[in-house]
């Protein structure tokens, strides 16, 4: 065994130890204080048009049908509570799905942006996942980019008459993966690599977070399908109300 091989093995041992011991691996909420100030503001501003669109849409829905406000609040609480659920995971630690893919398919992506920012704020203050200054960046990756992609994937695949459940799986899993790519780009833009600049840095962040995020995307896809099967068979009337 050469010296380098030894180094590599001990490095991977540390890695395995860290993942084996810690109780919970969370989705990629960028933590408080991790992004420089300019990035915090820029990502926040980028979210504004989507939030405004979502706000207008919610206002419209609620004006027509007051009850939907309660339904939306329940979905928000549901997304929050999902992170408390025990999730089967490959590493033995528990990681949590975002549920935004399914939400986007059911309610439309702009509504998810508004619900998403509220849930992320709650997660920051009540669970210490994510942060206040990084709220803009997290909202953009998790409540805007992911849901919009999920929604697009779902609509396009449905046009080609692909099985509904396959669509749901693809929408949820790809939405998660897209969120993970966007977060990597956000981190890389803030901390470009010395050699190779931003793109090298994107590759590094993606490689490091792939450990938790790729299994998570597959799991989220499978679970969304299971939930959808259940909803179709038990809550047909509610789904019709949502124009699903």
């Amino acid at each position: 065994m050469t010296k380098n091989e030894k180094k590599l093995i001990s490095f991977s041992c540390v890695f395995a130890f860290v993942f084996g011991v810690t109780q919970s691996t969370y989705a990629m909420h960028i933590m408080e204080g991790y992004l420089p100030k300019t990035h915090c503001i820029a990502w926040g501003v980028l979210c504004l048009p989507f939030l405004a669109a979502g706000f207008i849409r919610i206002n419209k829905i609620v004006d027509r049908h007051r009850k939907t406000l309660l339904l939306l609040a329940m979905v928000g609480a549901y997304a929050f509570v999902l992170s408390a659920l025990k999730l089967p995971s490959v590493t033995g630690s528990s990681s949590h799905p975002t549920g935004t893919g399914l939400g986007a398919v059911l309610f439309g992506p702009s509504v998810m942006a508004v619900l998403g920012i509220i849930v992320l704020l709650f997660q920051a203050i009540l669970l210490a996942h994510g942060g206040l200054t990084t709220l803009g960046a997290n909202t953009f990756s998790m409540a805007i980019a992911g849901p919009f992609l999920s929604y697009g994937v779902y609509k396009i695949m449905r046009k080609f008459n692909i099985n509904r459940l396959v669509c749901i799986f693809a929408a949820a899993a790809l939405g998660d993966l897209f969120t993970y790519c966007i977060t990597s780009v956000q981190l890389a833009l803030a901390y470009p690599s010395e050699v190779g600049g931003v793109w090298a840095s994107v590759a590094k962040f993606m490689a490091v977070f792939a450990v938790t995020q790729i299994p998570l995307a597959v799991i989220e896809g499978i679970l969304s399908v299971i939930v959808m099967i259940g909803l179709e068979s038990y809550a047909g009337s509610e789904l019709e109300e949502l124009n699903y």
Binding site: T22, L69, A73, A77, A84, I226, Y234
Partner: protein, 256 residues
């Protein structure tokens, strides 16, 4: 309460000794400190916020030190992973420390990248302490109330209040469902776990649809017409709190 584990921060926020201070004051104080420590971007200011916020939360707010240390460890995974990504570099030529060559690519750590990552970690913990200061001294309901005072759209405020309320309703249900599942060996093995998780997630969603319906009926029968009135009260800001505010930020500005 059973879900104290999951909602522990909320639980401690209600028991904080700082609870009788005006929540508007607290929100402004902690967010101003948070923003200043981020804008100043200096190690000294961040270290000062880490120490002073720990003092404010643990000594003045009477939050258990062991719990404070536990919440401090929450983002550890994120820090570890992202610091690895910042500190480790790839290059075709041999440079820097701890060179590991994998065929044509060299993995290395440079002095600048180490410097960067230390700076990021210190700044992150400074900002984190400010956020925890707010989270562990001001209950969510008070924070939402402050947002209402700051004129956020009414519908968003209502949505936030309702979500906060519904979280507890759903948590109770999740707990019962999980206990029932575990007691029937629902989580033995990967296959069963997936099945159980999916079922719980599905039933919970159905349950929450139903609950929303019931809540609407109950509210409508009590005359709900599109505005929910919430009771709120806030203490006055005292002179010594203003002095504390001024002193605190003078120290911060002097340090940067």
């Amino acid at each position: 309460m059973e879900h104290k584990g999951f909602m522990a921060i909320d639980h401690y926020a209600y028991s904080s000794a700082l609870n009788n201070i005006s929540s508007l004051y607290k929100v402004i104080f902690f967010t101003a400190a948070l923003i200043y420590s981020l804008v100043a971007d200096s190690a000294l200011v961040s270290l000062f916020t880490v120490v002073s916020m720990a003092y404010i939360t643990v000594c003045m707010g009477k939050i258990k030190l062991s719990f404070y240390m536990r919440v401090m460890r929450i983002p550890v995974i994120f820090i570890l992973l992202s610091v690895i990504a910042v500190a480790v570099n790839f290059s075709a030529v041999k440079t820097g420390y701890f060179n590991i060559s994998l065929g044509r690519v060299n993995i290395f750590v440079s002095p600048r990248s180490i410097n960067d990552s230390i700076r990021i970690v210190i700044r992150a913990f400074g900002a984190l302490s400010c956020m925890y200061g707010l989270a562990l001294s001001t209950p969510m309901a008070d924070i939402i109330d402050v947002m209402r005072k700051l004129r956020l759209p009414e519908i968003i405020i209502e949505l936030m209040f309702l979500i906060y309320r519904f979280i507890f309703v759903l948590l109770d249900t999740v707990e019962n469902m999980t206990r029932a599942t575990v007691s029937r060996n629902g989580y033995s093995g990967i296959r069963a776990s997936f099945y159980s998780f999916g079922n719980i997630a599905k039933n919970l969603l159905l349950y929450s649809f139903k609950k929303a319906n019931n809540a609407y009926d109950a509210m409508e029968s009590r005359g709900y017409e599109g505005r929910i009135a919430f009771y709120s009260e806030d203490s006055r800001v005292k002179a010594r709190e203003i002095i504390f505010f001024i002193l605190y930020f003078t120290v911060m500005i002097c340090l940067s």
